[in-house]
């Protein structure tokens, strides 16, 4: 029964629907470039420098981590580059070069590599990195301080800080249109709301991110902010402001949806997202930080394994 012709033998199935890790991460990067390019147009060459440095160092860290841990080189899947890009989007355009390198080190090596690499990270590496930078060097993520000398032609007071410490009167100047079109201070890739919304719709429609998380996160922000605003509209900003300023859209589209640290079942995704939105506004309105997205995402990452236990009973399961 044997012949010399060598046929390829493997286990079923013999078809694949053609998805791949690299397609997923390159698609996310592609649309993340929309708000990033808007940021580069606003802030100029320094922003471009931060983006390039962040992406390249993230790839280098990934490569070094692969070598040290004797794993196959995985920079081709695009995940490291994506981490670099997302991290840069959240930085001010004037971020010092060494802080960018520290940021990508924390994200790629500490938050991802140490836990076992792609798919094994319990928290979103980008969020871990921003959180550590925020706590270690608060000034570098204080946009009023970092962007003080920029003349962009619009109000450069960081809206999150204004809303938190000076009441809603100080943010009356920000129209919804301003916030959508990026006429606000903030992370270089997080201010162009419209671009992030377009990116989010593309990724949800193509199934690269899970729409349930995005929608419930935004709904959580909206409802909580609305309740606060109804309670005291002079102290607490309205829901549209909370949706379109700070890291909200960035968090809903790019951060909370990171695969490894988010649930996959329907009801858990809704709970996860809604909790994220709720916590975001709670931290902003009654917490100590001007923007709550980072810590909100960390907390929902933390409860993800628990909420994801809510799932339908498997077919034929007896017990």
């Amino acid at each position: 029964m044997h012949s010399n012709k060598k046929l390829l033998v493997s286990h079923a199935p013999f078809w694949h629907d053609g998805t791949s890790l690299s397609a997923k991460y390159y698609n996310i990067m592609l649309v993340a470039l929309i708000p990033t390019i808007a940021g580069i147009l606003t802030y100029g060459t320094p922003a471009l420098g931060v983006v390039c440095l962040s992406i390249s160092t993230a790839i280098i860290w990934e490569y070094l981590m692969n070598r040290v841990s004797r794993q196959p080189i995985s920079i081709g899947d695009g995940n490291a580059a994506l981490i670099g890009l997302l991290l840069a989007m959240m930085f001010p355009a004037t971020m010092p070069w060494w802080a960018v390198i520290v940021g990508t080190f924390v994200a790629v090596v500490i938050a991802k590599g140490i836990f076992g690499g792609l798919g094994a990270n319990p928290f979103n590496p980008v969020v871990i990195s921003v959180a550590i930078l925020m706590v270690s060097w608060p000034d570098f993520l204080d946009f009023n301080y970092m962007l003080a000398n920029y003349d962009t032609g619009f109000n450069m007071a960081y809206p999150m800080v204004s809303a938190k410490y000076f009441g809603t009167g100080t943010i009356a100047g920000f129209s919804t249109m301003d916030l959508l079109l990026g006429r606000q201070a903030g992370g270089l890739g997080t201010t162009f709301g419209l671009g992030i919304i377009i990116a989010g719709i593309y990724l949800m429609a193509r199934g690269y991110i899970r729409w349930e998380i995005v929608v419930s996160f935004l709904a959580g922000v909206f409802v909580t902010a609305l309740l606060f605003n109804m309670g005291d509209s002079t102290q607490y900003a309205g829901p549209m402001f909370h949706l379109l300023s700070g890291y909200t859209l960035m968090g809903a589209v790019f951060l909370a949806t990171e695969d490894s640290s988010s649930p996959v079942n329907f009801i858990p995704m809704l709970i996860y997202g809604a909790c994220g939105g709720l916590l975001t506004v709670l931290i902003r309105n009654i917490g100590v930080y001007p923007d709550g997205v980072i810590f909100a995402v960390l907390i929902i990452n933390l409860v993800n394994p628990l909420v994801d236990k809510i799932r339908p009973k498997a077919m034929g399961r007896v017990a």
Partner: protein, 426 residues
């Protein structure tokens, strides 16, 4: 190959191929040498009852071992050229009997004698190798199946073999259903067919149920759930629950056997070429797959893949000499360039498998236990045994993890550990 649609907001809908070729199947010329499998390992040559050079009559029952009832039926007469061991998936040991065909040998008449009145005993004794395959549970004298399902819908993609039998040989199926009613004592006989064939199937004398057109609606577990309203408990087979599945070809063959005294020797096969062209052929059981492909001008080269039984659930074979078996509904040839890769990536928890799993298994959690080799934990707490083996999880896996292979391996190892425990307990 079905690809992921551009938009992926919801899980993709995967439709079965409808029956589009209405023409009669092309007959593959009778081969000069046939290979027949006997479901017993070739361990001790001393118990062999047949030997190289023995003459075999057309339609003769071949029982290789004195200590095992396993047998095959030679569709053609000739002499035994060799008896060799064959190892299939997961170490399954079979015995292959190769017969040099001589067209001038006479027909064996043992079944014609024994099968004058249809009975379970004569079916079990002589019809074990009919085209389509006769399920052992159907002719087991100890038990009576509650429901016999004639599965007229092809379980896997691409295949039209069963649908063609339903649409072209309704008379034969009807004749077989009557015999089955008589000999099995089953309470009900159900004919499960795809929607377009339902109207024509009503004359079969069996209750007609329509199978959905989305994969895996024709999977036996799904037919049991959707058509019969019976969910098979995890770890149990359909036969355990009294539901026996049989292909329409086998039903027609049973009918023919008792009506005419001879057993059909040709198996209907759908061949899907590298180009995607689909062809129906009929080949003598035991014909080498290579000869079937040659008959439809298809060649297999180095590093191509030869699949028997469908792109989602079939088996890849390593040689073109592998024979057409009684249950070979489809032969699929994949060019080396068409073969998708598998990878040892870690699961990224994207949830594509969870969303597509028809059995609602937490595949993302299960795969972690399977990768770690914790098969007991996987079976007890993570629904390993609920798997109905449709292969969709691997099909959609973003990380290209061979999930289905892990699941099959897990089930196999779990069953082995249970058997070992039972042995130790004695």
């Amino acid at each position: 190959m079905i690809k992921r649609p551009f938009f992926g907001l919801v899980a993709p809908q995967l439709e079965y191929a409808g029956l589009d070729t209405a023409g009669a199947p092309q007959e593959v010329p009778a081969p000069s040498r046939i290979t027949l499998f006997v479901d017993a390992p070739l361990n001790r040559t001393d118990s062999l009852m047949i030997a190289k050079g023995d003459a075999v009559k057309r339609g003769q029952k071949v029982v290789p071992f004195a200590n095992s009832p396993a047998y095959t039926v030679s569709p053609r007469g000739g002499t035994i050229a060799s008896i060799v061991s064959y190892t299939g998936n997961f170490g399954k040991k079979l015995t292959a009997v190769v017969i040099e065909v001589d067209e001038n040998t006479e027909a064996d008449n043992k079944f014609a004698e024994a099968g004058k009145t249809p009975s379970k005993e004569s079916a079990a004794e002589f019809l074990g190798a009919i085209p389509g395959g006769l399920p052992r549970e159907l002719v087991d004298v100890e038990t009576v199946p509650e429901t016999v399902v004639v599965a007229g819908a092809d379980e896997d993609f691409l295949s039209v073999t069963r649908q063609y039998t339903i649409s072209s040989n309704m008379e034969g199926v009807k004749r077989g259903v009557e015999i089955l009613k008589k000999i099995t004592g089953a309470k009900n006989i159900v004919l499960a067919v795809p929607g377009p064939l339902a109207a024509g199937a009503s004359s079969a004398g069996a209750e007609v149920k329509t199978v959905g057109d989305q994969y895996p609606a024709a999977n036996p577990h799904m037919i049991a759930k959707d058509c019969l309203g019976k969910v098979i408990p995890a770890g149990k087979s359909c036969a355990d629950e009294g539901i026996v599945f049989i292909s329409p070809e086998a039903v027609a063959a049973v009918g023919q056997a008792y009506a005419e005294g001879t057993v059909s020797d040709r198996k209907l096969v759908t061949v899907v070429k590298k180009s995607g062209e689909k062809k129906l052929l009929s080949a003598v059981i035991g014909t080498a797959v290579g000869e079937v492909l040659a008959a439809c001008n298809e060649s297999v080269d180095e590093n191509d893949r030869l699949v028997l039984g469908g792109p989602m659930t079939g088996d890849a074979v390593y040689t073109e000499s592998y024979p057409v078996c009684t249950d070979t509904d489809l032969i699929l040839v994949q060019d080396a360039t068409q073969i998708p890769d598998v990878a040892d990536n870690a699961c990224i928890n994207c949830g594509a498998c969870v969303r597509i799993c028809p059995a609602r298994i937490p595949v993302n959690v299960l795969i972690r236990y399977l990768e770690a080799g914790s098969y007991g934990d996987a079976a007890d707490n993570h629904d390993l045994l609920s798997c109905i083996e449709c292969g969709l999880c691997s099909f959609v896996c973003t990380a290209h993890i061979p999930i289905f292979q892990y699941i099959k391996l897990g089930k196999y190892e779990f069953a082995r550990s249970i058997a070992a425990e039972a042995d130790n307990a004695q």
